[in-house]
């Protein structure tokens, strides 16, 4: 059931992968498709090369999975939009004011065609001008006001 060859442990801030008989490998853990495959495949990357790809972190034993989850949570900073307060367009820039899971936020998007990307399951990822990542998990679950405000600028 579990991928027994992959065992993770942490020393201070660094995650290591056990490497039977050889030196353990310091690894970082990333989603392979952070926009369209959140929660699916992950890659464990060593200092120079990728060490292994997992179809899903559920393949790990509970302790390793817990470390992987923490690491992924730490490596990715997505801000979930709960409600759009207002949106506006000014000289081609899209202005958003939103309530998010991290508090209230104001951000600007330059090019909606490039910076607002569908996630494939009714959600979108919005990248602002400095690279902060905002996420609407489900457009259909937004309230009517927020949906209208989103439509105004998309």
């Amino acid at each position: 059931m579990y991928n027994k060859s992959v065992k993770l442990y942490r020393i201070h801030d660094q995650v290591f992968m056990k490497n039977d008989g050889l030196d353990d490998i310091p690894v970082s853990i990333v989603w392979l498709r952070p926009t369209t495959g959140w929660g699916k495949e992950v890659s464990l990357i060593g200092i120079h090369n990728e060490v292994v790809i997992l179809d899903c972190i559920d393949q790990l034993d509970p302790d390793s999975r817990c470390i992987a989850e923490e690491e992924l949570e730490r490596n990715y900073f997505y801000i979930d939009i709960l409600r759009l307060i207002r949106t506006d367009v000014n000289l081609g820039n899209r202005y958003f004011e939103a309530e998010t899971d991290r508090g209230k936020s104001r951000f600007v998007v330059k090019n909606p065609y490039v910076d607002i990307r569908p996630t494939g399951n009714d959600g979108v990822i919005i990248r602002d001008v400095v690279g902060n990542l905002f996420r609407i998990k489900s457009l259909s679950e937004l309230d009517n006001w927020s949906r209208r405000e989103f439509e105004k600028v998309n």
Binding site: F77, V89, N93, K104, R106, Y113, V130
Partner: protein
């Protein structure tokens, strides 16, 4: 950076109890659990302190800290401290503060290393102090807060070279309004004097006057159209030329975050929008404002009581316009975005036709295009629906005012008020439409203005960008350049906070050939960008013959360096013109000599048009190897003391590489040469090899010295040898 005294009192209070002097402080915008909130990284003369919210979350004695560093996470950053006790997490920050924390890390580490207090490099605002929204670019003006009047003034100022024609245009426009407002008055005269009083002889005069007004209005409009078209076209032609010439002199850093398509859009589309506003919008605005005021005065003069009824629908017209505008604007925007998307899909379909055919994806592309095309059609139908509803509804609202006027005017006339005649009523009704018209179309003018202003703002952004400094008074010209190059403690980042060159120092003697080696992203091409001053270093300097290149005249620096790039760029000119590009006065004989030295002559003479062969856009009619040899011929003819070969043979086959390598050998003789190549075999003639790793100098020496060292170079050679052996086996098989 926040100076100690500028820290909020409550934070100062926390710090004062702990140490004596604040050296540096930087505010963050994320809390420990990465919610939006306040926090500080504070360096005092004894401790490194982090404050999250209003509590001290960590304090580390400075003698415990080796260094602090940035962890670039996806969507945010983190500062950690490397201490005697392991790595400690200090704080998180959003991407808005990347440049600020890059500065902080440098300042804190400098202090930790040698108690030096360094200055902050990045002092630009990330947010607009007025509306508090992030700025699209640090230090730029906030587009939301730029007064529209300022933009309008700049647009109008563009017409200054043609002020005589503009004056004439205003005159003609004013006269046009006059001939537009006369006919209702003539109607009144016909009804009251000709029909009412039976002066049938006057009908000839009034009819003539009416036809004359119409004719003169037509003449004025025709002159106005000619003048606006002429002025609009001239202004936009001037603007395009200015934009193109400004772009030629802009720093390359301006282009790093901009797509070529976007800039082409600015030069062609935005100026087009501006032209439409100058040709159609501005005269329309002027005519409507004048006629609105003039007609308003006339209505008041005819009957002020009825004018009040005329004004009854005005709030509804204004509110309705604004309501409809709010509906229409997103549709217009979406239409624009969809058109851009459709262009992009179409462009990809045409450019990638071979790949599409090879992968049998024609049906997929057709489906993709149709889907975007249908969405665009849907948006356009919506726009037309809303726009049509708007027009018809506004017409109905206006007719309410007219009905009110008819109702009360009839009562006034039948009530025996001799001052107000039937002719007055008809003139009044005629004027009402002239009065309502501008109100209805103000929203359309607003649309034009919005488009033109957004275009103008983008155009002005380019025009206002400071160009490269070619001829500063302090710059010097060296009598000749021998080619001694020295890189001195060079630091550079394309994006503040993400350093790609980290303190690089080495020198090259005149006539020496240096091979630059390193993995992708090690900083090899960046060094070339800095040597040619396409970009300026954050700190440190590059010297040529002992003179810092920032003090050399840019034109001399660039003409002293010959560049042969991986993807040579050829212009859509003949082969001879491409070889002579940059050496305008070269004779044909010299061009042929250069082509021979570059081993290009043999393939050129076999072409039907020889040296007159047009190479096509970006040289598409030539093969990769042919393009490369023309670029080398160009460099030979240019005859620079310094030569840069950036992956000059990486995209060609082994036979072509051999030809190019022969050409290069001839070219490098006697010149200081910096060669970058992935194929280590192409660097076999280099005097020394410089190995870069993560923006730092990792190894330097001859091939044998580096092999002996058994470091990165030896490892690279080993993997190349293995790869070559593998390839031999595969080819052999």
């Amino acid at each position: 950076m926040i100076k100690g005294s500028q820290l909020p009192p409550e934070i100062n209070k926390l710090i004062n109890g702990k140490s004596t002097r604040v050296i540096h402080a930087q505010k963050t915008d994320l809390t420990g659990d990465r919610k939006f909130g306040k926090g500080y990284l504070i360096l005092t003369d004894a401790e490194l302190i982090t404050v999250i919210g209003e509590k001290v979350s960590s304090e580390i004695q400075l003698d415990m800290v080796e260094q602090i560093r940035v962890d670039e996470l996806i969507g945010c950053g983190r500062i950690t401290a490397v201490t005697n006790d392991g790595i400690k997490n200090l704080l998180y920050y959003s991407n808005h503060l990347v440049p600020d924390f890059a500065d902080s890390v440098r300042i804190v580490n400098n202090y930790l290393n040698n108690f030096e207090i360094s200055e902050k490099i990045n002092n630009y605002d990330s947010h607009c102090p007025r509306c508090e929204f992030p700025l699209p670019e640090r230090g730029s003006r906030c587009p939301r807060c730029v007064p529209r009047v300022k933009i309008l003034k700049r647009i109008v100022a563009l017409t200054a070279p043609y002020k005589l024609r503009v004056f004439l245009l205003m005159l003609v426009t004013g006269m046009g309004v006059l001939f537009q407002v006369l006919p209702p008055y003539i109607t009144k005269k016909i009804v009251d004097d000709v029909i009412g009083k039976g002066n049938i002889n006057q009908i000839y005069f009034y009819t003539g006057a009416m036809i004359g007004c119409g004719l003169l209005y037509l003449v004025m409009r025709l002159i106005s159209i000619r003048l606006t078209s002429w002025v609009g076209a001239k202004v936009v032609t001037d603007l395009r030329s200015r934009l193109h010439s400004v772009i030629q002199y802009l720093k390359l850093s301006f282009f790093t975050r901009r797509e070529p398509g976007e800039l082409v859009g600015r030069i062609m589309h935005d100026t087009g929008e501006l032209q439409q506003f100058l040709v159609d919008g501005l005269p329309f605005l002027v005519i409507n404002v004048i006629s609105f005021i003039v007609v308003g005065i006339i209505l008041l003069k005819i009957n002020w009581v009825l004018t009040i009824f005329v004004l009854v629908p005005v709030p509804a017209l204004i509110l309705g316009s604004s309501w409809f505008w709010k509906k229409l604007r997103p549709l217009f925007l979406r239409e624009g975005t969809m058109i851009g998307h459709l262009h992009s899909v179409l462009g990809e379909s045409l450019q990638g036709l071979r790949v599409i055919k090879a992968c049998s994806r024609e049906n997929h592309r057709i489906g993709l295009f149709d889907s975007v095309n249908n969405k665009l059609a849907e948006t356009q139908v919506n726009t037309q629906r809303v726009s049509g509803t708007f027009n018809e509804t506004m017409y109905w609202v206006m007719s309410l005012g007219v009905a009110l006027v008819w109702f009360f005017a009839s009562k006034i006339i039948t009530g025996g008020n001799s001052d107000f005649t039937l002719g007055d009523l008809l003139a009044f009704v005629g004027y009402i439409w002239l009065f309502y018209g501008p109100l209805q179309w103000f929203s359309v003018i607003l649309n034009w203005m919005t488009h033109a202003f957004s275009g103008a703002e983008r155009i002005f952004e380019i025009l206002d960008t400071s160009p490269e400094n070619y001829e500063s008074p302090e710059s010097i010209t060296l009598p000749s350049i021998k080619g001694h190059i020295e890189f001195r403690d060079l630091h550079f980042s394309y994006e503040r906070g993400k350093e790609v060159i980290k303190g690089l120092s080495f020198s090259i003697t005149p006539g020496e050939t240096i091979g630059l080696i390193g993995r992708s992203g090690a900083g090899k091409s960046t060094i070339i960008n800095l040597l040619t001053r396409f970009f300026e270093p954050d700190s440190g300097e590059i010297l040529i013959d002992g003179v810092a290149i920032k003090n050399l005249k840019l034109s001399q620096l660039r003409s002293s360096i010959g560049l042969v790039m991986q993807e040579p760029f050829l212009f859509n000119l003949s082969i001879a013109e491409n070889i002579a590009y940059g050496t305008e006065h070269a004779s044909f004989k010299e061009i042929v000599e250069a082509a021979k030295a570059a081993h290009a002559h043999e393939f050129i003479v076999r072409k039907k048009d020889g040296y007159d062969t047009l190479v096509g856009e970006t040289g598409e009619r030539l093969s990769g190897g042919e393009r490369q040899r023309i670029a080398i011929a160009r460099a030979i003819l240019h005859n620079p003391p310094i030569l840069v070969l950036d992956e000059a043979t990486s995209s060609v086959d082994a036979t072509t590489e051999k030809h190019i390598q022969e050409a290069i050998n001839g070219l490098t003789r006697g010149r200081t040469t910096i060669a970058i190549a992935h194929r280590l075999s192409t660097l076999r003639n280099a005097h020394r090899l410089v190995v870069l790793s993560e923006g730092k100098l990792a190894e330097i020496g001859t091939h044998d010295e580096l092999l002996e060292k058994k470091g990165i170079y030896a490892e690279l050679i080993k993997s190349h040898t293995e790869m070559n052996a593998l390839q031999s086996v595969m080819w052999g098989a």
